[in-house]
Symmetry: C2
Subunit: 276 residues, 2 copies
């Protein structure tokens, strides 16, 4: 098949997070298309919608295909303007909200910005507390507070501990600490002392030696630290350690921070929270 | 209306991020319902689906209402099992994918985990680089590298700079620095020296004095730092400064980190990237 070029619009009353998530998950199911993406958040006036309509029609002409338009527009007047453009519209609220209304036997409130908008005090504080915990317990700092962690990630340098902890804190309000396994721990097959009393909270991150090598090369090219042989030694050693101490672990070689985080929550039975 | 109690299930082949985002945005449009939420990510075997079916039926009996089930299941056999339960099912792929196929004149690949699963090397490195930049330039650290920032958030202590920078880095790959405005800057209506050459990158975060007071109380209860009078002085001063130096700013009092971040991207014309 020839490579199609198509334009996709993400239109939203507010942040655009919901509609981008939806469209992205659908479009990643199609190969061989070159996407030009246009994000239009905060589309909350009919005049703005008319300007977008003109843009969409220009894209249709340029591409020789009408654009795909994903939207979460709560204002029906704005949606009506967009529907007059030369495009295929997939509006998420329009598609589902009536069925949900029927099921719940009550009308929906039609208020924009509810999903990622209003700040709820209690959840705001919990979220900020989790982020502060993560920042104060990164890379083995302050191990005396490890008993308060929901989870403690362990792994060698560049195994993805820090980004995963940040994601767990921001997205799920999890107090996630992390502790690096370093060369000094190597010769003896022992857990670092500060981890002995928190063994049940440990979770290991591992990856292929080749991938670790490529990540470390990015950071310190051609250093002994980045060499494939060194990466192989460290990975082999840490996997033996995880096995010996019965520490659950995950191979992160081919998965995203989102998937690592969701897997950890699921396997450790941690309670997730959706913020917004 | 009496307060209904309803159970909602989020079922997914993989992380559950897409289905939770979509369901949450629909359900926040309904008031007066008490939700019991059950997340079932990594639902990838028929046997697991049969166990979920039993759970759903038990919830229906207990609540006296059938549960709402939101799903992004790519495996039709698994979805079929769930549909036999006493529930109302809203499957996002089933609802949209056929229309998208028609529009694109090609079949979808039906591969789970594409949206938040596979690691793409280039975007992984860019994302990690952004997170490292944020961590290395938090709270006024390393201002000599501010020229490399995509954006520099400024504001008084507890105005939300750090969580917003982390979100911008993690979610959008933005190199976001932040610099605190402190009492020493007060008497003189001048920008801190290190910010003079990067004025075009500055973005101010402000909030109501009452909200700042409540956030600081959480941190240092009944301190002079947290007093309402002090918060009022700092907010008034920083807003005058933003005005004097023509620094765009946002009142974050009632909005979430997601909305603050999306607003900054939109107003500053920064290019967002969706990862996964």
């Amino acid at each position: 098949m020839t490579k199609q070029k198509r334009t996709v619009y993400y239109l939203s009353d507010r942040t655009g997070i919901t509609v981008e998530t939806l469209g992205h998950s659908l479009l990643t199911q199609f190969d061989g298309i070159e996407w030009e993406t246009v994000n239009v958040p905060f589309l909350d006036e009919v005049e703005k919608a008319k300007a977008v309509l003109i843009q969409i029609n220009q894209a249709a002409k340029r591409d020789g295909h009408r654009p795909l338009v994903f939207s979460t527009l709560l204002n029906p007047e704005i949606l009506e303007v967009i529907k007059q453009a030369d495009c295929r519209t997939f509006d998420f609220f329009e598609t589902f909200i009536q069925s949900v209304e029927e099921e719940l036997h009550r009308p929906f409130v039609r208020m924009a910005g509810r999903s990622h908008g209003f700040q709820h005090h209690l959840s705001y504080f919990k979220r900020i507390a989790a982020i502060n915990y993560v920042l104060a317990h990164d890379d083995g700092v302050n191990p005396k507070n490890f008993a308060e962690a929901d989870i403690i990630l362990v792994g060698v340098s560049r195994s993805g501990k820090t980004p995963t902890c940040l994601y767990l804190g921001l997205q799920y309000g999890i107090a996630a600490a992390n502790y690096p396994l370093t060369q000094e721990d190597f010769p003896v097959m022992q857990l670092p002392k500060v981890l002995e009393n928190v063994r049940s909270k440990l979770f290991g991150l591992t990856l292929s030696a080749a991938q670790l090598h490529s990540i470390r090369q990015e950071r310190r090219p051609n250093s002994p630290y980045a060499s494939l042989a060194q990466c192989q030694r460290e990975i082999q050693w840490q996997e033996s350690l995880f096995h010996l101490f019965d520490i659950p672990c995950l191979d992160t070689s081919r998965i995203s921070i989102e998937e690592i985080s969701a897997t950890i929550l699921n396997r450790c039975g941690l309670k997730r929270q959706l913020y917004g």
